[in-house]
């Protein structure tokens, strides 16, 4: 059974509600670090992350530059910075050009994570109305990682997951609730037959 070392999540419009669902299910001390790019306005501060954390069992924080990635924690990319992962499993932030009109960009996170975690990475594409994340999830698959995509029919905005589905052979296409339970199983090292 594969021991996954990280989960990267990309989410755009409809993301606030999606995050609430995901974090109402993921447990405290969840064994795989969760790293999230959520598209937000470039001027937004990190207040919403604190509010999300108050309601979650799992510890949620904004990713700090050069911070070491630990289990039992969910990290969210700060507004207006790209989030990258170093080979030493620390974060780097950059103010490079926007990618897919976005900073942070999901593709940027997914690609750098794929190069570091290779087959031990889970990529998750959730609700959104652009195609950020499509190239990234493809890269994750190329490195042998797992691709989980929200069923577009269950997503607040179908475009982003639908775009990802056309680009890769997804391992799982599920509702958000089912994705959350699947992640818990994968975290426990349980071989799962949920499809």
């Amino acid at each position: 059974m594969m021991q996954y070392e990280a989960i990267v999540v990309g989410v755009s419009s409809g993301g606030m509600n999606a995050m609430k669902v995901l974090f109402s299910i993921l447990p405290k001390d969840f064994s795989i670090p969760v790293i999230i790019v959520q598209h937000v306005s470039s001027h937004s501060d990190n207040q919403w992350i604190k509010i999300l954390n108050d309601k979650s069992d799992l510890y949620i924080k904004e990713a700090d530059e050069k911070e070491k990635i630990e289990q039992g924690t969910a990290y969210i990319a700060p507004a207006n910075y790209h989030l990258l992962i170093g080979k030493n499993k620390t974060f780097s932030l950059t103010v490079d050009e926007r990618v897919n009109f976005a900073r942070p960009s999901i593709d940027v996170l997914f690609e750098s994570a794929a190069e570091v975690y290779k087959s031990k990475l889970i990529g998750v594409v959730l609700t959104g109305s652009n195609n950020d994340g499509t190239k990234g999830i493809k890269r994750i698959k190329e490195y042998g990682g797992l691709a989980i995509i929200q069923d577009p029919e269950t997503a607040e905005s179908a475009y982003m997951p639908a775009s990802a589905i056309t680009a890769v052979k997804a391992d799982y296409i599920l509702s958000l609730e089912d994705i959350s339970y699947l992640l818990i199983q994968l975290g426990n090292g349980i071989k799962t037959y949920l499809t």
């Binding site: 700090d64 530059e65 050069k66 700060p78 910075y81 990258l84 992962i85 170093g86 080979k87 030493n88 780097s92 932030l93 950059t94 103010v95 490079d96 050009e97 940027v108 690609e111 750098s112 794929a114 190069e115 890269r139 190329e142 490195y143 042998g144």
Partner: protein, 274 residues
Amino acid sequence: MKHKDILEPEISLLLETVYQKYHYDFRQYSEAHIRRRIMNRMAMSGLEDVSQMRSKILNDETFASRLLQDLSITVTEMFRDPGFYRSLRENVIPVLKTYPFIKIWHAGCSTGEEAYSMSIILQEEGLYDRTTIYATDFNQQALNKAKEGIFSNELMKEYTINYQLSGGKESFSGYYTSNYNNVIMNQSLKKNIVWANHNLVTDGVFAEVHLILCRNVLIYFERDLQNKVQALFYNSLINGGILCLGSKEGLRFTDLYEEYVELDKKQRIFKKKY
């Protein structure tokens, strides 16, 4: 399909080559940043792997200078992070007002937007005529653009909003003249700015200053290099001098944390202890 791996030793070798041949030292830059830019450049230039890129760097100076541009990220804005500039007006300007003459250092000034923003604030606060602004970068191309002070007209809408959010009360369009698709910044904003090529990694202290702004540069460095550059800043500041970092940069993990007091924690403004 398995993706081709990009190996750390190959990247180290490439950076070593750049350093030996061109004396630009990227060896302690953020590994994730360097990897991303190298991957992008490889794809754009149709290169197979890092070692092919390395030999191109050795033999092709035009290609090498393109790579320097790739690694130096010049993305910037006027009044970027308006909240920071608001705090600058409230917390830093009153300190500057106590000095008979003022020296300011913008380290990593890119194409100059940050220095022009500073000039505007200093003019509005009546401090410009007793100030010298040193605006430095290691990217000569960016410095040349900064010196010209010509920016795209399209950007002005966003900059005007930034300016207003930062507490600016004048008409922003009074600071430049429009010329078709471009604007040119007023000569009066430039006259006390000294543009200079300075590399934070390999060059030393060049002036003793009252205020340093180094925003969104240190995020591109690994911790040890951040520490080294922080020592350079410390040695360049007068006692009581002020250091402004980018909104995601701090001193907490440097050796010098104890040597400063926080003037504004959120906006990352620090004052060197006496």
